[in-house]
């Protein structure tokens, strides 16, 4: 906030120099009171208004993608949490070349009326930030940021219709955000009763029993291709085989992605943080906020994998009294406690809390979108980085004539089932693929590059907390444990592919040999006829006999 002040001083100096070279005017300095008058809280919404690139709204094309992505992430998370197989309808309508209307409708549990304004009109309001559980959204920024972006660029409020059950009335809201106070301002609030919808393509009318529809108008541009909304929706369908997704693109074209898994994925479980994944600052905060009466029960209650005896051991080795009250420890001996925690031998965090896609569904998902000759997938056991359990899955589709043979492989990266479309080269997944030796599996690879093959390669990281390199969640950070697991997964699918390719080469070789026999035996007949003057009948007999002899020897090879 001091910046305008400095500017003013600078301007004054400039004026002074430009004027007569008389005695310089004394520089105006501000008192602490003046400054205090200018100092005030910056609202989160205001901050993000100025830094919208941090959230993925840096270009009009990306803004469209991010908006769809945030709405879809929320819809899928909501459906899964409620145990409902997701049915999504994504509509993007072009209002002008730089303005689009985005609508995402789900069949989720709906949102109770009182919560709607906060969820969609207040940044950092959400259910996921305070928990450690595998989910698409994390911070509770996404959809409200999209709403704010729309409000900033078009002035239009975000529109929500939600219904929580067949007997409950549907509500329609239009919400604006007071960016200064980070508060939702409902513009309109209507009870609809029944919620009737019309299919945008068929015109069919139906009634919605429960679900939520979000509608925004934003400034954006629409592009086709892998890095666009089209690619995002397609990849979302691959990673979520249990979802049915209908997508109406701005050009009116409708894409249907059928559900290939009839069951919901295993519900991920929420866990407490593992002590080894914690930082000193967080520990201090937890010590302050805990309801536990002494540090021993604090450790046992707030962390996973800390039993009573283990907690006592930690406290002892930190040289603290067992009955010390946590806030007191925070003030005085937190660092000793922190070091003792790091030194303690603890069980690895629970890993059954994650929800993998699974190798069968990985293949089903790929098959749905990629036509290829060969598919392979692997789903690794969970591992741990910095106290956070995570799990890597990899799948590939190879060959088949539709994939370009002489181009780099197409990479599909997913984090908790969400496609990552940008910053491919900064991502731990890409780095692992590049540093893997694909030649071992009969695939070409230039040094320091992705392999070259008619192949789509998919890698999924599932974790209670996916470490992204930035807030816009585009690239996974390269923790050594993560890179190692990705590589093991890649090697697993790579080996399967290698077997297939070698078998293919053998078959191609056998086929070539068979065609050799067909091609060249007649020439032996012609030559013998020319030299020996035998008749056609005898020539045919020679050819037939020779062919038979060779075919038999080939089979015995």
């Amino acid at each position: 906030m001091a910046q305008p002040q400095l500017k003013r001083i600078a301007r004054k100096e400039k004026l002074g120099r430009a004027g007569k070279k008389a005695a310089p005017k004394p520089v105006v300095r501000l008192t602490a009171h003046d400054l205090a008058a200018r100092q005030r809280e910056i609202s989160v919404s205001e901050f993000f208004t100025k830094n919208r690139h941090l959230l993925g709204f840096d270009s009009p094309a990306k803004a469209l993608l991010t908006t769809v992505k945030e709405a879809v992430d929320n819809a899928l998370d909501a459906c899964e949490e409620a145990g409902i197989l997701p049915d999504l309808l994504i509509e993007i309508g072009e209002i002008s070349e730089t303005r689009y209307r985005v609508a995402v409708q789900d069949n989720g549990p709906g949102i109770v009326k009182a919560q709607i304004p906060k969820i969609f009109g207040q940044l950092l309001y959400g259910s996921k930030f305070h928990t450690l559980r595998q989910a698409r959204g994390q911070q509770g920024i996404g959809i409200s940021a999209a709403g704010m972006y729309g409000q900033l660029t078009t002035g239009k409020p975000i529109r929500i219709i939600s219904k929580t059950g067949p007997t409950k009335p549907a509500h329609e809201f239009e919400i604006q955000i007071d960016t200064k106070r980070n508060q939702p301002v409902p513009v309109s609030d209507r009870e609809l009763g029944d919620w009737h919808v019309v299919d945008p393509t068929t015109g069919e009318k139906s009634t919605v029993e429960h679900g939520t529809k979000v509608e925004l108008e934003i400034e954006a541009t629409y592009k086709k291709g892998r890095h666009s909304v089209d690619g995002y929706v397609e990849q979302t369908a691959i990673a979520n085989p249990h979802a049915k997704v209908s997508y109406v693109a701005p050009d009116g074209e409708r894409h249907e992605y059928a559900r290939v898994a009839g069951e919901l994925p295993k519900a991920p479980l929420e866990i407490k943080p593992h002590p080894h994944g914690i930082e000193l600052g967080i520990l201090l905060k937890m010590l302050h906020e805990t309801k536990a009466r002494n540090i021993t029960s604090f450790l046992h209650a707030e962390f996973s994998r800390v039993s009573g005896p283990v907690a006592e051991e930690i406290v002892k080795s930190a040289g603290l009294p067992l009955s010390m009250s946590p806030p007191k420890a925070a003030r005085e001996q937190a660092e000793a406690l922190y070091n003792a925690i790091q030194a303690a031998k603890l069980m690895a965090p629970q890993s059954n809390v994650l929800s993998p896609i699974g190798d069968e569904l990985l293949i089903e998902g790929l098959k749905k979108q990629v036509t290829a000759d060969f598919y392979a997938a692997t789903s690794r056991s969970p591992a741990v980085y910095r106290g956070n359990p995570f799990l890597i899955e990899a799948a590939l589709a190879y060959g088949g004539g539709q994939l370009p043979a002489d181009e780099l492989v197409t990479m599909l990266r997913f984090a908790n089932r969400v496609p990552l479309l940008y910053q491919q080269s900064a991502c731990a997944i890409t780095k692992s693929v590049v540093s893997n030796t694909w030649k071992n599996y009969g695939i070409q690879q230039a040094r320091g590059a992705l392999p070259t093959a008619p192949m789509v390669l998919m890698v999924h990281i599932a974790s209670v907390w996916v470490p992204f390199t930035s807030e816009s969640k585009e690239a996974v950070a390269s923790y050594p444990e993560i890179v190692k697991e990705i590589k093991l997964a890649l090697q697993d699918v790579g080996r399967k592919l290698g077997l297939y390719i070698r078998r293919g080469l053998r078959e191609a070789d056998a086929e070539k040999k068979a065609s050799y026999i067909e091609k060249y035996i007649p020439h032996i007949g012609i030559a013998l006829q020319e030299i020996l003057g035998i008749d056609d009948k005898r020539k045919e007999k020679v050819c037939a006999t020779l062919k038979d002899t060779l075919e038999r020897s080939r089979k015995n090879e």
Partner: protein, 357 residues
């Protein structure tokens, strides 16, 4: 030499056909054409092929080459029966009519042709195939008696009447006749040296026949000089550069034959040839001017000393030609002839003629 190859072709083809009808995989046995499969006959003075053969059995993997070999044999039979000829290149183009069995590169057809030649232990001219390259140039006191290709009438070609040009050795030399009173034949590696000697009228002065090989001598060139020397009983001297290529490739091939034509060396070499030129030892003895030896030359020299039966012969009769040690690039090598012509090369050639016999 002149025995027809057609019965041989028929015999091999018959063998192949019979094997096939007996439900066996037919095979052809080719002599291995390389220096590793020749021995140097000290007394007779040429490379003789040893018995090692490679067997090409008709299998799934060899069916293409096998078919090509048989078709090449059929082409040869047709050429011989119709008294026609085809160059190697023409044979390659004929194969373009063989659909799938056609050759893709001329080197492929050349190899198959060489195999067929060795299979029947004949010269490729007997198969109706002729090389493309020139045989060599001749000037001096010699009359070649050839026949008019159409009338069959004898033609006398006077090799003194070519002025600054030369008589060109034909591809087939078997039926040529010779008249000469020359005292010797001087065979020269380079066309440049040959022209200079022609220009100086050296053949008149020395009463000789000059032949230019233009590098490694063709079979026709070797056969021409062999027949001339045999028929007229005159000595042959070979004048080559004193470097590994001149000695171990050109001179050796001229005198005792090559690995590639191992099966017919007996006829296509000039065992009576004697080396005339600078030996590596001369360079040391006479402190001759030199220039650095190329790596490829060092390799060639080493290879010859290690693998060439001519330089490994039991009698080591050509000891003076052996490198006393393997030269190295630092060693500096014998200059090639043109660089030495004033100081040594010609001097030696001239002094040789005055002291000869």
């Amino acid at each position: 030499m002149s025995e027809s190859v057609v019965p041989k072709i028929k015999k091999e083809a018959k063998g192949v056909e019979e094997s096939i009808l007996k439900r066996k995989k037919p095979s052809l046995r080719f002599p291995i054409r390389s220096l590793a499969n020749v021995r140097y006959l000290e007394k007779e003075g040429y490379f003789e092929i040893r018995g090692r053969k490679k067997e090409r059995t008709l299998t799934v993997n060899t069916v293409k080459t096998f078919a090509q070999t048989l078709r090449m044999m059929a082409l040869s039979k047709t050429l011989v029966e119709t008294d026609d000829i085809a160059t190697k290149r023409e044979a390659y183009y004929v194969s373009k009519n063989w659909d799938e069995a056609r050759f893709l590169e001329q080197t492929e057809s050349d190899t198959v042709m060489d195999d067929v030649e060795a299979l029947f232990e004949v010269n490729r001219e007997q198969l109706g195939f002729v090389p493309e390259e020139k045989g060599g140039d001749v000037a001096g006191n010699l009359i070649v008696i050839d026949k008019d290709p159409n009338t069959g009438k004898a033609i006398r070609i006077d090799c003194t009447k070519f002025g600054s040009g030369a008589y060109s050795i034909p591809i087939s030399v078997e039926d040529l006749g010779f008249e000469t009173k020359a005292k010797f034949i001087l065979v020269i590696e380079t066309a440049g040296m040959f022209q200079r000697l022609v220009k100086h009228g050296y053949w008149k002065k020395a009463n000789c026949i000059l032949v230019s090989m233009g590098g490694v001598p063709t079979r026709a060139c070797r056969r021409f000089i062999r027949r001339l020397a045999d028929v007229k009983k005159i000595p042959v001297y070979v004048f080559v550069d004193g470097d590994p290529y001149g000695i171990s490739n050109i001179y050796r091939t001229f005198k005792v034959g090559s690995g590639n034509a191992a099966h017919i060396n007996e006829f296509f070499c000039v065992p009576q040839a004697r080396f005339l030129g600078i030996t590596p030892q001369d360079i040391i003895d006479y402190k001759l001017p030199t220039h650095p030896l190329k790596e490829v030359d060092v390799k060639r020299a080493k290879d010859a000393l290690k693998n060439d039966p001519f330089f490994l012969g039991p009698g080591r009769a050509r000891l003076e030609l052996r490198y006393r040690r393997v030269p190295t690039p630092e060693d500096r090598t014998p200059g090639e002839i043109p660089a030495l012509r004033k100081d040594f090369g010609l001097v030696r050639a001239y002094s040789f003629t005055s002291s000869h016999r």
